[in-house]
Subunit: 230 residues, 2 copies
DNA sequence: CAGTGGTCTAGACCACCTC
DNA sequence: AGGTGGTCTAGACCACTGG
C-alpha cells in the first residue's frame, strides 16, 4: 500500500481506537508530518482521502476534526458498506443475449452474449432486495452458481483482477410489480426503491449493469457529501 | 477564484464547447501545464476537482478522458443541480420550538427558537416535493416569506454569507400519509421517496435539517461515484 | 497576531498502458 | 521503450480562525 493510503488507514484506526466522535480534534498537520515522517503534501493527501470518505473535515485556521455518521442501521448508498449478514438466493444464472438497454449500458452488441444474474438478497434472513445484473463477458470472463451466491463484486475484483474505477447510480421510487412483490414478500403495488447502477473499469469501459429493487421497509441509506451546492 | 478552480472551470468549458462525450481524450498533463503555465500539481489539483464532480476520469499510462452523464431529466441527488423551472408555494414560515429530532440535528436546545419552513415545490407547474426545514437561528439569522419563496440556500450563502461545508443525506422509500398526498396531488398510501439532509457550515456546525417528500413519478435522481467499493 | 490549514512551485522518481 | 499519469519532497507564501 502506498504511503498516503497507509497514513489514512492509521488515522482511521486512531479515531476508532480512541472512540473519537464528530467534532473531536485531531493532531495538527505539523504533528502528523513529524509523527509519520513524511512531507506536508503526503499528510494532506491522506487527509483528502479521509475527507472524501466522510471521516474527517478540515477547517483552515482551526484544525482537523472527526466526522462520523451517527445513525445506525443505514447502508451506504455508494460504497456498498454497512450491510452485514447478507445471504443470496440465486433465481437465475445464465449466458444470454442482453436486453437492448443492458447491451447499451455494458457496451456490447445486442446479439453478443452476456452473463445474466437474478437473485434475491436477504439480511438476517429477511428479504432485502431483488437484483438483476448483466455482465460484459469480455471483462467478467467467468461466473458460476457458487460465486454468484456470494459477493459477485468481491470475486470480480479479487478473483478476476478487474480494477473497478467508477459507477453511475440512478434511483427512483415506484410501485412493486406482482412478480417483484412475490420475491420480497410484499403485496402487489407496495412502495419500492429502485436503484440502477453502471459499473466501469478504471479505463472507463462499462462492465456491469444492475437493477436493484429494495424492500421499502428494509432499505435505509445514507450518503455523505462535501460541497453540497457545488 | 484560485488557480486550480479557474483551470477546472476552463477545462469544463472546453469540454462543453467542443461537445466532447464520454471517452473522448483531453490533452495530456504536459500540454495542460504549458497551456495554463502552471506546475504539474496545480493541473493535477484541477483534474482531481473535475474527477470528484464526475466530469473526467484519469487513467495512468493512458490519458485523461471525459466522463459525462448520459441520461436526461435526472436530478443530481447531492449537488442539487439539474432541477430547473422550480417554483415554491410556502405553506408555513415561522419561528418556533423545534421537534426533539430537529433540535438534535441543528444542535440547539429543545426550548430554543428555530426557523421552520414548510413548502411545496413545483417543477414546470407539476408538484415535485413537499419540504419541511428547520434552521439554526444563530447561523441563519433572518428569513422572510419572499426569500423562502425562492432558493433558500442561495440566500443563506450569498445573502447571509454562510459558508456551507458538507451534508449528511439519508433516504428511504415509504407510503405517503394523507396530508402529504394532498399536497402532492397523489392518493393516500402512494409510494414516495423521503430524503432527509443535515447541512453543516465549513467549521462543522450543523445549521439546517430538512425532510423532503418526493412525488414518486417526478423524482429521478443520479449520483456519480469514484471507487464504489472503497 | 500566533497558529493552522491551503495553494503553488520545480523536480525526482515510480507505476501503468500501449504499441 | 516511450508516453502518461501518480507519488513524494522541501520549501515559500497565502488565507482563515480564534483568542
Amino acid at each position: 500500500m502506498i504511503k498516503y493510503q497507509q497514513i489514512a488507514a492509521e488515522i482511521e484506526t486512531y479515531i476508532e481506537e480512541n472512540a473519537l466522535v464528530q467534532g473531536d480534534k485531531l493532531p495538527v498537520l505539523e504533528a502528523l508530518m513529524t509523527h509519520f515522517n513524511v512531507s506536508k503534501s503526503t499528510v494532506t493527501k491522506a487527509l483528502e482521502l479521509l475527507e472524501k470518505k466522510g471521516a474527517v473535515f478540515q477547517v483552515r485556521g482551526s484544525g482537523i476534526f472527526v466526522r462520523r455518521q451517527k445513525r445506525k442501521g443505514y447502508m451506504d448508498l455508494l460504497s456498498h458498506q454497512g450491510s452485514e449478514n447478507i445471504t443470496s438466493k440465486v433465481i437465475e444464472l445464465e449466458v444470454k443475449k442482453p436486453t437492448k438497454e443492458a447491451a447499451h449500458h455494458v457496451n456490447v452488441e445486442p446479439d453478443e452474449d452476456v452473463y445474466y444474474v437474478k437473485r434475491v438478497r436477504y439480511r438476517n434472513g429477511q428479504a432485502l432486495c431483488l437484483e438483476e445484473s448483466y455482465f460484459n463477458k469480455s471483462i467478467v470472463t467467468y461466473l458460476n452458481k457458487e460465486i454468484v451466491s456470494e459477493s459477485i463484486f468481491d470475486y470480480i475484483q479479487k478473483g478476476l483482477g478487474v480494477k473497478v474505477g467508477f459507477s453511475d447510480v440512478y434511483l427512483h421510487a415506484g410501485k412493486l410489480k406482482r412478480e417483484e412483490a412475490k420475491h420480497l414478500c410484499l403485496e402487489n403495488g407496495a412502495p419500492s426503491l429502485y436503484v440502477e447502477s453502471i459499473f466501469h473499469v478504471t479505463n472507463g469501459q462499462p462492465f456491469a449493469f444492475s437493477t436493484v429493487t429494495y424492500h421499502f421497509e428494509q432499505s435505509h441509506f445514507f450518503v455523505q457529501t462535501n460541497s453540497p451546492f457545488s
